[in-house]
Amino acid sequence: MIALQDRKLALWYIGVAYIAFLIGTLMGLLQVFIRNDKLQLPAWLDYYQILTAHGVLLALIYTTFFIFAFFVTGMSKSIGTFGPKVRLVSWIGFWVTLLGTVLATAMIVAGEASVLYTFYAPLMASGWYYVGLALFVVGTWISSFALIGHYRVWRKNNKGELSPLFAFMTITTIILWLIACLGVVATVLFQYIPWAFGWTDTINVELSRSLFWFFGHPLVYFWLLPAYIAWYVIVPKILGVKVFSDSLARLAFVLFILFSIPVGFHHQLTEPGISNFWKFLQVVLTFMVIIPSLMTAFTMFANFEISGRKKGATGLFGWFKKLPWKDVRFTSIFIAMAFFIPGGAGGIINASFQLNEVVHNTLWIVGHFHITVGTPVAMTFMGLTFWLIPYLTGRKFTKSMQILAFVQIITWSIGMLLMSTAQHILGLLGAPRRTAFSNYNNHPSAMEWFDGILTSHVTMAVGGSILFLSAMILIYIVAMSMFLSPKALKVEDQVEFPMAESDKTHTPKWLENWWIWIGIAFALIIIAYAIPLSSMIMHAPPGSEGFKTW
């Protein structure tokens, strides 16, 4: 078990993550009923306030806090207990992140920031909302630097050695995060804050959107890579095998640093101000990320097959039956991976240049991110939560909790399948995303969206309700593992942190030369962004004043 102080830090992160999860999923439940005209909010509460809270709390707060809990635990486990300096800086990072979160959330609740989590200008929230977001990012940077500091201590003490795979992957994710945040920090600090506090009159809208998406796309890889860490490092241990290939795992991760950032324009394909050449160039770069994804898919199935054959499986698919289906730590993550197959395919569709027009800003997109971040990432985090909290609190993960965990992941899967299928098809029929209930004056095309069997807002609401039930079961499991489950006094009751062995004897050293990867990443960013961004600044139209349209 790792040091008590490190466990305490991780538990605080998890605690905040699940408070955000609780409120965020409740907001989701309200939304599906409003869209179906079955619920009307009281006058003091607005649909778009709820929508903003749902997005911010789940996509930003839940994910980020959980990721840091996972990193803190895994880094302490793989490269040793935090020193006093690292610990202090980590706590400062935690509190700054939390302060930013509370400030931003308070502004949303007060109705001063119904601008959604993308906060597109010239919608203008209270300046304090942007300050909250800035503090949130700065807090994560402080925590990131603490982890980097911890890693550097290890490197210094183990000269010439490659770091353990978990630490390597954590540092990769952090580098990606630090570079990605440059875009959002630039726009919030130099555009939004001076404008919202009235120090400047107008804002360059197209530039702010492009800087946001410089950050917005790699943000999804910041969610995904920690899930990949679990897939690469945790799953093989549960399966009883070694990491399939240490060098390929590391190569896949550094490729994500290179190909996740210079691609934000694929979120802006249907808008003016960016020429077709630059849009298409970024589409091509977007698709490069498929290569490490294919490598990951191969590795996962290789792990499954090797594990199955080790347990005596024969034939082409015999290994499938030998997988540890009764172990909820495995089954949860397996389902998460399965959801990522249609999720990833949908992503390819969305980024396909002209094809984007068919789905842009429709419910299809909502369906898409519920089967990417909402299940592959979130359910991997759930699968980690089941053992991570007992591991940190020293409590048992009892038989009844294991059964409940199965109920939780199965209900989540069913709910998500119903909801996301409905959303995908409704999107193809043209139903818009981010929109409260409307039948557009009983327009026949809009009425179609309410009476299909699978393709209706009713199906979406049924799915959403099942998801909320599942979320509440998870909250119960979290509360039990945090405070109430019996203490694991005997060694055999103690929950382990499954971390697979990784044979790094044949791994080339240059994979851990970060300056190579950071250098190439910046070169690609300059190729993809320098000219279009500077043309947005030089050929900017007169800027926009702020609007509060809510």
Binding site: L123, G273, V358, S445, F547
Partner: protein, 155 residues
């Protein structure tokens, strides 16, 4: 770095598919002029009403086979009087915003344009079937976002 033989096959297959796929998308885009909506024209968002073509929004016939439709989006509606256009002719939509970001999305078509203040979004489209098409805003623009819609009649 050692690559398993099957992994080589898998990756080569994947990368070739990727090249084929991107080539198809790229060739149709740049040789058949099949781009998503966009455009590089700018406008002063505070002087939309005084700037052509938005000083006279609506349908204008350019020549026998081409019509232009100028539309101003604002919270929460479109300034677009009497939208009636013929089927089978090329319709060039030009849209801009007087306030926040909106969209101009025609249901059952591929017209799905982001409307950004300060910029003019352009998209050419030819309707095949006559009828009344729903136009809606699918980018969040404020409290009345879900009431932002209009209709276009194709004859």
């Amino acid at each position: 770095m050692h690559l398993h033989k099957f992994e080589k096959v898998w990756l080569i297959f994947g990368i070739i598919s990727l090249i084929v796929f991107l080539s198809i998308v790229g060739v149709t885009a740049f040789s058949h002029d099949h781009h998503p909506s966009g455009g590089m024209d700018t406008i002063d968002p505070e002087k939309v009403d005084q700037t052509a073509p938005f000083d006279n929004p609506g349908v204008t016939q350019i020549d026998d086979d081409t019509y232009q439709v100028a539309i101003v989006a604002m919270a929460f509606g479109y300034t677009a009087p009497e939208l009636r256009v013929p089927a089978g002719k090329e319709i060039i939509f030009k849209v801009t915003s007087k306030d926040v970001v909106h969209s101009f999305t025609i249901d059952d078509t591929k017209v799905n344009m982001m409307v950004v203040p300060g910029q003019i979004t352009t998209r050419a489209y030819t309707f095949e079937k006559p009828g009344k098409y729903l136009i809606l805003c699918n980018e969040y623009c404020g409290t009345g976002h879900h009431f932002m819609f209009t209709e276009i009649e194709v004859y």
